[in-house]
């Protein structure tokens, strides 16, 4: 019976979340929607992390998703859903190309390579004016609509993002538990050993990169549909670093941990506003202290807690 408790709690939280738009003020609702959107991008990094890779270019994929969706719908009148398909395809292609260096490099070098990629993509967004409007950004992006119903109001957009978030969270969990997930873990633990056991390391790594790019792209498309205006500055390396810190802070194996970390860090940057200019300093302190005292992230704490409970139970039995 006891094993059902976490599931019941989870179901209650999921159902309870559905009522958020009915009682929260507009500003909070806006934050919640924003958190849900970036959570998707952060979960993409989690998939990369599980396969032992690190990307500092998630902000660029987020930007590519936002720009692709926005430009197709503004210039060609393509609907949001059709543009979403294009986003997914395009994210796959770019993810594949950006992922190519992973065949050769890992760890620290990979962080810097992807950071360089992000900077290059940002410079293209900023300077290639014919393609992206450059520093003017893209405005008046039509939001998504379904069977004549447009997701214009904030509550309706909340439910849309909720559906997307739920889908991608479940997808992440499915992937973690699938054969592919096992490949990821094998590659993370030892590339040579997994190669010896018949795992195609290159293919596995590139797959992880493409999946995480799709997560980032879809999150970007949702963002552009929600805000209605995008600018290259929204997709700078700072954003990538933010996503990366969120995923590490959450502990990349745990979807719930990453959701918690995204929420906590977003709220931290918003609610430290009362200390004015010192807010980002406080944010930096949170990062440093978090890494010193919680190197495995929030998800790691969950695992510790679970082990403690288990040990306690065994103690009771014995």
């Amino acid at each position: 019976m006891k094993n059902y408790i976490p599931k019941i709690v989870l179901a209650a939280v999921l159902l309870g979340a559905l009522s958020i738009p009915s009682f929260t003020p507009k500003y909070i609702l806006h934050l919640v929607i924003y958190i849900m959107i970036i959570s998707i991008a952060v979960m993409g990094l989690g998939i990369l992390g599980v396969s032992g890779q690190i990307s500092n270019a998630q902000g660029a994929f987020y930007g590519i998703g936002a720009y692709t969706s926005a430009l197709f719908s503004v210039r060609m009148g393509v609907s949001f859903w059709a543009s979403l398909l294009i986003v997914i395809l395009f994210a796959c292609v770019v993810g594949f190309v950006v992922g190519l260096p992973t065949i050769k490099v890992s760890g620290l070098y990979l962080i810097m390579t992807t950071l360089g990629v992000n900077e290059i993509i940002y410079l293209i967004m900023m300077n290639n004016i014919t393609l992206t409007n450059g520093p003017q950004g893209v405005s008046r992006i039509p939001g998504p609509s379904l069977f004549g119903f447009t997701f214009k109001s904030m509550p309706s957009y909340f439910y849309l993002c909720y559906a997307f978030l739920l889908f991608f969270a479940l997808l992440s969990i499915r992937i973690y538990r699938s054969r592919l997930g096992n490949y990821f873990i094998a590659v993370k633990n030892s590339e040579i050993a997994s190669n010896m056991n018949g795992v195609n390391v290159v293919k596995t790594k590139l797959t992880a990169f493409m999946i995480s790019a799709v997560y980032g792209g879809v999150a970007g498309a949702l963002y552009s549909g929600y805000i209605g205006y995008i600018h290259p500055d929204n997709f700078k390396t700072d954003v990538s670093v933010l996503f990366l810190t969120m995923s590490i802070f959450g502990g990349q194996r745990s979807v719930v941990g990453m959701l918690c970390a995204t929420t906590i860090l977003t709220i931290a940057t918003e609610y430290f506003r009362f200390i004015g200019e010192y807010r980002l300093i406080a944010y930096g302190l949170v990062l440093i202290l978090g890494m010193i005292y919680m190197p495995e992230g929030i998800g790691g704490k969950f695992v510790q807690l679970k082990n403690l409970v288990k040990a306690g139970k065994q103690h009771d039995k014995g």
């Binding site: 190519l100 810097m112 410079l123 990366l244 590490i248 010192y278 990062l287």
Partner: protein
């Protein structure tokens, strides 16, 4: 035109080299990179600004004071933050350093929200060498960097302390068994790398405006420089910095200044793909 661009490229390149040396030192010692090296550089630039305007010091005394201040700053960072992170995973270290970068950048933003113009401590004269014109600060950058790199080389090669530092870098356990106080030397390494970044910041001040957000880009480019030369190799960092500076200046002059950063980052990516151990470094086989 060509000669002019190369000369200026060398000067910028030496600044990259100074920051890159910081990466190299720490990497050899801890196998980690202090991601905030560029931000330490930026703090150095502002410390130099404060010293030269508030105290009215001349060039040489500013540089000496900043050398001391840089060592103290690095020591402080080590004691407060990095000492607890000597043995953590790469990612943890990087995120903590990112946090440090955010703190430094925003602390400076509060003090100096606008870019500041440096006082002309390094002179304003313009020299003609063949058909190129070069301002005095550029020559200072080249001279001081060369001096500093030579001094560091001598320190590491010929003195007892330098040898101990290299021993710690090559194998911490064995060094400890030989009676070297490892923690002190790691701390000294971090202080030293912060000090050279600070000096780099002071030197670049008169060439550009000093602003709180210049750290990230310089840090990234210096990392490209370190990788280009071979991150485990001290002369490699210097050569990598100079090559990168020249390449970047040439591409700004002949291709497009908007895309000059693309060139240096492209160099980084290509190097990592085809020769990750750099021009001078040696490839390390993977252990099973």
């Amino acid at each position: 035109m060509l000669f002019q661009l190369i000369l200026q490229g060398i000067a910028t390149g030496f600044v990259y080299a100074l920051v890159a040396l910081g990466y190299t030192f720490v990497f050899r010692c801890l196998n980690q990179v202090i991601y905030a090296q560029g931000h330490i550089f930026m703090v150095g630039s502002f410390m130099g600004y404060a010293a030269s305007t508030k105290l009215g010091l001349d060039a040489v005394s500013t540089l000496l004071l900043m050398l001391l201040a840089g060592v103290a700053f690095g020591f402080l960072l080590d004691r407060v933050i990095f000492r607890k992170l000597y043995d953590v995973a790469t990612m943890t270290f990087v995120i903590a350093a990112i946090g440090l970068g955010i703190i430094l950048q925003n602390a400076v933003r509060i003090l100096y929200p606008e870019p500041v113009k440096y006082p002309p401590i390094f002179g304003t004269r313009v020299f003609r060498i063949f058909n190129a014109q070069i301002a005095e600060p550029y020559l200072w950058v080249i001279a001081i960097s060369l001096l500093l790199i030579a001094a560091l080389y001598c320190f590491l090669t010929f003195t007892r302390y330098g040898q101990a530092m290299r021993a710690v870098a090559s194998d911490r356990t064995i060094a400890a068994a030989m009676g070297i106080n490892v923690k002190v030397y790691i701390s000294a390494t971090i202080s030293l790398s912060a000090a050279i970044a600070v000096i780099g910041g002071v030197l670049i001040g008169p060439l550009y405006f000093a602003s709180f957000d210049m750290g990230g880009m310089i840090g990234l480019k210096a990392f490209s420089a370190a990788v280009l030369g071979g991150i485990t190799n001290i002369s490699g960092a210097a050569i990598g910095g100079v090559v990168l500076g020249i390449l970047e200046n040439l591409s700004a002059g002949y291709i497009s200044s908007a895309y000059k950063d693309v060139v240096s980052l492209g160099v980084l990516i290509l190097m990592l793909l085809f020769r990750p151990h750099g021009i001078l470094g040696k490839a390390k086989p993977t252990k099973v």
